[in-house]
């Protein structure tokens, strides 16, 4: 019987944009068990909710993570709106979804680039990030920031996008779409990509349900779960929404789901720009959340379903605010998919699951 060895992986590793540590128990070159350890970038942001009033706290939620920044401010605002019974104007709802879907495009392009870099396809990495730059350009033109948008507040949005600027955004996305099709073809048709990703990190549909994985990780295992299909907020304006699924259950399927979601998000933005109503940008929010009031809301972040909980105490400070992020759901599934894989496949396995450690640790 081969001797068992423990190899530490991370928290600093070229494939990890953020720190997570894994103790890999290996036998020969095969991983028997992976023991995760998190807590390297815990900042205690949830506790800050007791020191900042509920309206100012949006600025903190936006800084939870650099990739899902707008999503967290949106999720927090929606939770407080449920807590206080605030009706958000339709134009604000649609603008929120447009920014959120653009965030998904930039997040997925960033991830596709990192994946290409992970398997040594430098040119593809650069092309993905070059395209992503245009989305960041749209953010800068419309909100003044490339990462921290500062566009969402409790009750609506802080700034408008003029209708002609919205049509300009669609033109930019249409220009990106042709170039993206070339990249999509490379990810989905190129033999070198398939050779590296097929059969990596298999997670069957039953196991995916058992471990409660979320987002593209779950959808690549054939679970049709996408909070967007409930039609909350601005998604209610969409004619139809079907989540992108795959039954292949491996790393290649995760790549395929994310790659196709980029096109889907571009389509959503295009449809919403045609349907955007005129009207107010923000509803007046007065008073404080009632003592003992509780609210939850769910949001489809680029990495999956994100769950928000807030509890009021009658003052302008919240009693408790809690986020359950998709990456914390996915960690259990990630550890499961590690069992039995080759040591050389561990980086690819982690990349295809795409854990966002900043969100997980807050």
């Amino acid at each position: 019987m081969a001797e068992r060895t423990v190899i530490p992986f991370g928290p600093q590793h070229p494939v990890l944009p953020e720190p997570v540590h894994l103790d890999l128990v290996i036998e020969d070159e095969r991983v028997i068990e992976a023991i995760p350890q998190i807590g390297f970038i815990h900042r205690g942001l949830e506790k800050l909710v007791q020191k900042l009033d509920y309206q100012s706290f949006v600025t903190v939620t936006e800084r939870i993570c650099g990739i899902c920044a707008f999503g967290h401010s949106l999720g927090y605002s929606e939770t407080i709106e449920v807590l206080m019974g605030v009706e958000v104007p339709p134009r604000a709802q649609v603008l929120r979804v447009i920014w959120h879907e653009l965030s998904r495009v930039h997040s997925h392009l960033l991830w596709l680039g990192l994946l290409a870099d992970g398997f040594g396809f430098e040119n593809l990495f650069m092309q993905c990030w070059r395209l992503r730059e245009r989305v960041l350009g749209i953010f800068e033109q419309t909100t003044g920031g490339r990462v921290i948008l500062n566009a969402c507040n409790v009750g609506g949005v802080n700034r408008d996008i003029a209708n002609e600027d919205l049509r300009g955004i669609v033109l930019i996305l249409d220009g990106m779409r042709d170039e993206y099709q070339v990249l999509l073809k490379t990810f989905l048709k190129d033999r070198s990509v398939a050779n590296r990703l097929r059969g990596i990190g298999m997670l069957s549909k039953e196991k995916a349900r058992e471990y409660g994985v979320a987002g593209p990780f779950a959808r690549a295992s054939g679970i049709a779960e996408d909070i967007r299909s409930f039609g909350y907020g601005g998604y209610g304006f969409l004619h139809a929404f079907e989540p992108i699924l795959s039954d292949e259950c491996d790393g290649y399927a995760r790549c395929q789901v994310r790659a196709e979601e980029v096109v889907q998000s571009m389509d959503i933005v295009k449809e919403l720009v045609e349907k955007i109503p005129d009207g107010a940008l923000s509803a007046k929010v007065k008073g404080s959340p009632a003592a003992g009031s509780r609210a939850v809301s769910r949001l489809e972040q680029p990495r999956g379903e994100c769950f928000y909980y807030a509890k009021g105490n009658g003052t302008k400070y919240l009693e408790r605010f809690r986020i359950r992020t998709p990456s914390s759901d996915n960690l259990a599934g990630m550890v499961y998919t590690m069992q039995g894989c080759d040591l050389a496949d561990v980086p690819m396995n982690i990349l295809t699951i795409d854990p966002c450690v900043s969100c997980t640790e807050r």
Binding site: T143, G144, N150, N158
Partner: protein, 118 residues
């Protein structure tokens, strides 16, 4: 490997670089860029609403000394102060502040109001 993107790669050989040679090529600010907060101190009434609302505690007002102070190293350009200002004396300007050699705050002094002539 990568036959599909050969055309794109060749096209890139003939096109301009995707990156900017900063600072030789200057940064272009958009009209929305959040560079730094400025205060039209003559319109300011030193009401301190901006101080109370600032999530980064970057602002301070001293009513007796008639000063409005901002710590640019704490400011996160969230524009909360600009939105809550009752006199619209605060504004967000697109230019970033120049590189500083020491961490200092910026203080504006409100001039004394002249007594109205009888």
């Amino acid at each position: 490997m990568g036959i599909q993107i050969t055309g794109m790669a060749l096209k890139n050989l003939l096109s301009r670089p995707a990156t900017k040679l900063y600072p030789v090529e200057p940064q272009v600010y958009t009209s929305q860029t959040r560079g730094h907060v400025d205060n039209n101190i003559e319109a300011c009434i030193l009401c301190s609403i901006c101080v109370r609302k600032c999530p980064a505690t970057a602002l301070a007002v001293d009513k007796e000394a008639r000063t409005w102070t901002i710590n640019p190293f704490s400011c996160v350009q969230c524009m909360t102060c600009v939105r809550v200002c009752p006199r619209d004396s605060l504004s967000m300007l697109p230019e970033y502040t120049p590189v500083a050699s020491n961490m200092s705050t910026r203080t504006l002094v409100k001039p004394e109001e002249k007594p109205e002539e009888a």
